[in-house]
């Protein structure tokens, strides 16, 4: 039983044995051991499981692992020398965009998908990108500010 698939996560290739019903979230966390991606509601509402697949934010709990086979997956652990991810992390640290931190990997990945398409989003655009992510601690304002800070950092980098 089981099938073998190749997952490209953070520019590394992982050959894994999976069952057809296993979610991408389960495989990333339990089989590959990248536990930065969280498991939350499992019904597509909380956003803590968000990863970026082929440039788009998706819920890893709502995608079966085989669906991601051969696609380019990015998790909060990131790839080496990723300037955008580094800027987002720095933005969250500087602006205090987290408290308990459970939702943070999901917010960071939604922010990644947003900023890679739109490096200078308005506050409204940031809010839209985060509709599918819940945070129960911060009240969101500091998260929005963190993304705005990340946006400043990347546009600063471009000027240099």
């Amino acid at each position: 039983m089981g099938i073998k698939i190749i997952l490209n996560i953070n520019s590394k290739r992982y050959s894994v044995d999976i069952e057809p019903w296993e979610t991408l979230n389960h495989v990333i966390r339990e089989k590959i051991g990248l536990t930065g991606t969280k498991k939350g509601c499992e019904t597509g509402g909380c956003g803590s499981c968000t990863v970026v697949v082929d440039g788009k934010a998706v819920y890893s709990c709502m995608m079966l692992a085989f669906q991601a086979s051969g696609k380019d997956i990015l998790t909060v652990e990131g790839r080496d020398n990723d300037v955008l991810l580094a800027a987002i992390r720095k933005g969250f640290m500087e602006m205090g965009g987290l408290q308990c931190g459970y939702c943070t990997p999901g917010f960071i990945m939604s922010a990644y998908a947003l900023l890679s398409m739109n490096p200078k989003p308005s506050r409204e655009e940031i809010k839209e990108a985060f509709v599918g992510n819940l945070c129960r601690c911060t009240g969101y304002v500091k998260i929005f500010e963190s993304v705005e800070r990340a946006s400043q950092i990347i546009s600063g980098d471009k000027r240099e």
């Binding site: 099938i3 057809p20 499992e42 597509g44 788009k56 709502m62 995608m63 085989f66 939604s110």
Partner: protein
């Protein structure tokens, strides 16, 4: 608790191969489109007979085309693609865009597909209601059989697909002097609708000359066509708010019979549906007139 234990993933390279897999395995095979509904369905035991998952990602069924007076949408087109396409800002197609916008999490819309939403056939989904009001036609492969989307959805979790068949595309005919609108009310941004309503109107000399109205949420096994409201609206001037309110309030409950559940009573659902219907008719009308 889980009874969802498929053992095989089939990845057909062509539509012929897809039909072959579906014929061979019958009800035990199920196409995975976006996959966002799997968890909700499986934990209710609705996928316990599925042994073969069919991955259709190689079949190029994601497209939006304009051809012969029709807009044709591939079954595997994501809701995000539809929402982003400027085609759906045209007045007569706007209900479909409204329905996409009403589903909030981007993480769902990036993968969920139009065909998946139709084939899941749950009465509180948004896309079917919008498609019904736009009088969408579905094309079923491999024989390219065509039928109304409203008839394709037979009831709860039940669509008109025989073994070996699959939903290939959805088409909507272009309409002159027509506007449409979709409205929904739900308790939270990621919840299913308490009630939703989609309306398409044709306007002649400032008055409604015909209307197509569907109500969903929990109004039976599938969204309901409000035939008597459609008839009452003929000849009405929607900016006459009293006339519009009277027409809807006196007729919508004759066709739409809402259920009571943990989220809302039947009476509450009916009230919400009437308000949504009124607003949708008005917005659809305004979209033609401006």
């Amino acid at each position: 608790m889980y009874s969802f234990r498929p053992s095989v993933v089939a990845k057909p390279e062509s539509e012929e191969e897809l039909a072959e897999v579906l014929r061979k395995h019958g009800r035990n095979a199920r196409i995975v489109a976006g996959g966002t509904g799997i968890y909700e369905l499986s934990r209710r035991g609705l996928l316990s007979d599925v042994d073969v998952l069919v991955d259709i990602s190689k079949l190029q069924l994601s497209y939006i085309k304009e051809e012969g007076g029709k807009i044709i949408i591939g079954a595997a087109t994501s809701l995000e693609t539809i929402q982003r396409s400027s085609i759906f800002s045209r007045p007569y197609l706007s209900a479909l865009r409204d329905a996409c916008l009403s589903i909030q999490p981007l993480q769902v819309k990036n993968v969920a597909t139009l065909g998946g939403a139709l084939c899941t056939a749950l009465p509180f989904l948004d896309m079917p209601v919008a498609l019904f009001s736009l009088e969408a036609i579905v094309t079923i492969g491999p024989d390219m059989r065509e039928m109304k989307a409203y008839e394709f959805v037979k009831g709860f979790f039940d669509v008109d697909l025989k073994d070996g068949e699959y939903l290939r595309e959805v088409s909507i005919s272009m309409k002159e002097k027509s506007g449409s609108s979709f409205m929904k009310f739900s308790l939270t941004s990621d919840d299913w609708a308490i009630a939703n309503c989609s309306v398409s109107v044709v306007v002649d000399e400032g008055l409604i000359s015909s209307a197509s109205i569907f109500v969903g949420g929990a109004f039976g096994e599938k969204p309901v066509r409000a035939v008597r409201t459609e008839e009452r609206l003929r000849g009405i001037l929607p900016s006459d708010t009293d006339a519009l309110k009277n027409a809807i309030d006196s007729t919508l409950h004759l066709d739409a019979k809402p259920e009571t559940d943990v989220k809302a009573s039947s009476e509450y659902r009916m009230d919400v549906a009437k308000v949504l219907c009124r607003r949708a008719v008005f917005q659809a009308y305004r979209r033609v007139m401006t």
